[in-house]
């Protein structure tokens, strides 16, 4: 088997293959439903209904996409510069901690929202800065350090929530006090959970896109990612660029935690994120590291998950089918995206 690059992939291929991936996922969904003793034909409708079937469902999909856009952007920015940041989860929690620190009365309106957002970004950036400095100064592999810091951060959050940051009014449950009203991101639609964090995520995606394609920093980040030696020779401050990348990446991941606390939960608990940091890697790679693509792929991931999760209840299938379908959709989709650019030649 051989793969031949296609110079200019036709539109039919660019649309057809991803569509095929979706169809294949739905076939898997039907097969799984059959195995679980549910009606396979009904599942398809139920998935669509669960993801987009009502205003509520659609907004829930957007809601679940929100943190994924942030973490997806964080990963995309870092991976572009070949900085393997697997630690978006930890940076997310750093942002969440700051949202609580500044949002529970330390600051009042109108300062609290912008200041705590910026402070959250800084905190996330600092969490990533450690591994990056270790990498640039001592050559310590950042895949491992950022990965391990996720565990450390989660334990640290657990400590905070059982210790200094525990809500005195929380009846003993390990969670932080609630944010004051001024520190909350307002909702977009009354009564439904979607909040302005989503809009912020879209703005962040556009901002990252502008940075990457229009600014000198973006040019430097791409150059450093592609060929560090050539970038250094061309006079780019490679380590400074890596640090800036880390600041941006960690900051974006932190915004995910910040917006989940300020927009959705109103307080911090140690189960704030069901792995948004890790899913962010998937989102970013699915988007081929393109910031605007991140928005699409986050919506895709969220829709598949929310849709199939909802389907599992309606059809009476074990809820774990949602993750199975998400993983299946993901693998089919990366394969399809690759095959839009390559032709398989059997010989």
């Amino acid at each position: 088997m051989r793969l031949d690059p296609i110079a200019a992939p036709p539109l039919s291929r660019q649309i057809g293959l991803p569509a095929l991936a979706l169809v294949a996922t739905l076939l898997v969904a039907m097969a799984l439903a059959l195995i679980a003793g549910a009606d396979p034909l009904a599942t398809l409708g139920l998935i669509a209904k669960g993801a987009f079937g009502s205003k509520f469902a659609a907004l829930e999909t957007l809601n679940r996409a929100t943190p994924l856009i942030f973490t997806g952007l964080a990963v995309a920015v870092a991976f572009r510069a070949k900085l393997w940041n697997i630690g978006a989860e930890a940076q997310l929690y750093a942002g969440a901690i700051v949202a609580v620190l500044l949002g529970t009365g330390a600051l009042g309106a109108p300062l609290v929202l912008p200041v705590s957002a910026l402070a959250a970004m800084l905190a996330g950036a600092l969490v990533l800065l450690g591994p990056v400095v270790l990498k640039t100064r001592l050559g310590v592999d950042e895949v491992v350090t950022t990965l391990l810091l996720n565990f450390v951060m989660l334990l640290f959050v657990s400590y905070l929530l059982e210790g200094p940051m525990k809500d005195p009014m929380g009846m003993g449950w390990p969670k932080s006090p609630a944010l004051i009203k001024e520190a909350r991101l307002p909702r977009i639609v009354d009564g439904l959970r979607l909040h302005w964090g989503f809009a912020l995520a879209l703005i962040a995606a556009v901002a990252v896109w502008v940075i990457q394609s229009r600014t000198t920093l973006g040019f430097e980040m791409r150059a450093v990612g592609q060929n560090r030696e050539a970038a250094r020779f061309a006079g780019m401050p490679v380590n400074v660029v890596l640090v800036k990348t880390a600041l941006l990446s960690g900051g974006l991941a932190a915004l995910a935690g910040w917006s989940e606390v300020a927009g959705l939960k109103g307080h911090l608990s140690s189960d704030l994120s069901p792995g948004f940091g890790y899913t962010g890697i998937i989102v970013a790679m699915l988007a081929l590291l393109h910031p605007l693509g991140v928005v699409l792929s986050a919506l895709f991931v969220a829709a598949i998950f929310v849709g199939s999760d909802s389907m599992s209840r309606a059809a009476g299938v074990p809820t774990y089918i949602a993750d199975m379908l998400l993983a299946t959709a993901l693998l089919f989709m990366v394969l399809a995206l690759m095959l839009t650019r390559y032709r398989v030649v059997w010989k």
Binding site: G50, F56, E60, N63, R64, L155, S158, E162, G170, M171, G172, W173, P174, K175, A178, G191, R193, E260, L264, K265, G266, H267, S269, D271, L272, S273, P274, V306, D309, S310, S312, R313, A314, G316, T319, Y320
Partner: protein, 305 residues
Amino acid sequence: QDTIKIAGIYTVPVEQQWVSRIHIAAEAAKAAGGVDYTYTENVANTDYPRVMREYCESGVNLIVGEIFGAEAEAREVCAEYPDVKFLLGSSFMPDEAVPNLAVFDNYIQDASYLSGIIAGAMTQTGSIGMVGGFPIPEVNRLMNAFMAGVKETRPDAKFQVSFIGSWFDPPKAKETAFAMIDGGADLLYAERFGVSDAAKEKGVLAIGNVIDTQADYPETVVASALWHFEPTLNAALEAIRAGSFKADNYGVYSFMKAGGCSLAPLGTFEGKVPEAAMKLVAEKEAAIKDGSFTVAIDDNEPKSS
């Protein structure tokens, strides 16, 4: 009479001890008739309000589950669906403003206390090991009551307390228990799966918690403090049928008085527990039931001594 449609929403798989008691009670109610029951497990707290809404929209009558990690948002959903009744595990009190939400928790300190009395009598070394998942109120409360019970029969008892930071890591719980046995413990308080296994392998004793596992460890598990969710659920079902469901604290239905908890039968350990201790247990049980004695509720994190 219409069947009542119950939906369970759990943040962990139904194998988790706490949730398993709710699940079993609901299945039993379903088997008894007049009730329909579906459930969904392993729901992240982030998704909890969405799942609540989905069930509400699908037309269920009663939602049971746990909202410790999603209090504020969950209460909003409750308020939005006044026709659906909610019976949810919560650390907070019921709120008149949300009349369709009643709360509960596993207040089985009574049984834990009694199991402590037996433990105090059974330990030789006076050193007791306790392995927990996280120091949350449900866990702390039972541990503290157990420790108070131990003091009745063994005032000089020493406790080793550890939390493993996970609900589902039996190998880790087991290793922690091994370490406590090395540290001199000859009786373990089995809050997590894995602890009784360590006790069994090393030939020391264990006290069960929430569920009865003596069948798996006949030589090891002396006694267990059991939680019965049935009284709680039945009270709610009755209230619904009577049209009198309201914001209420169902915690009391877990008390021994209400039949919400009990000491598991001694079973294989029948006759092996000192007479005096069993007498004390019987006395205290009677006193608890007639209200002349109450076991203190202490939700603070227990510490090693």
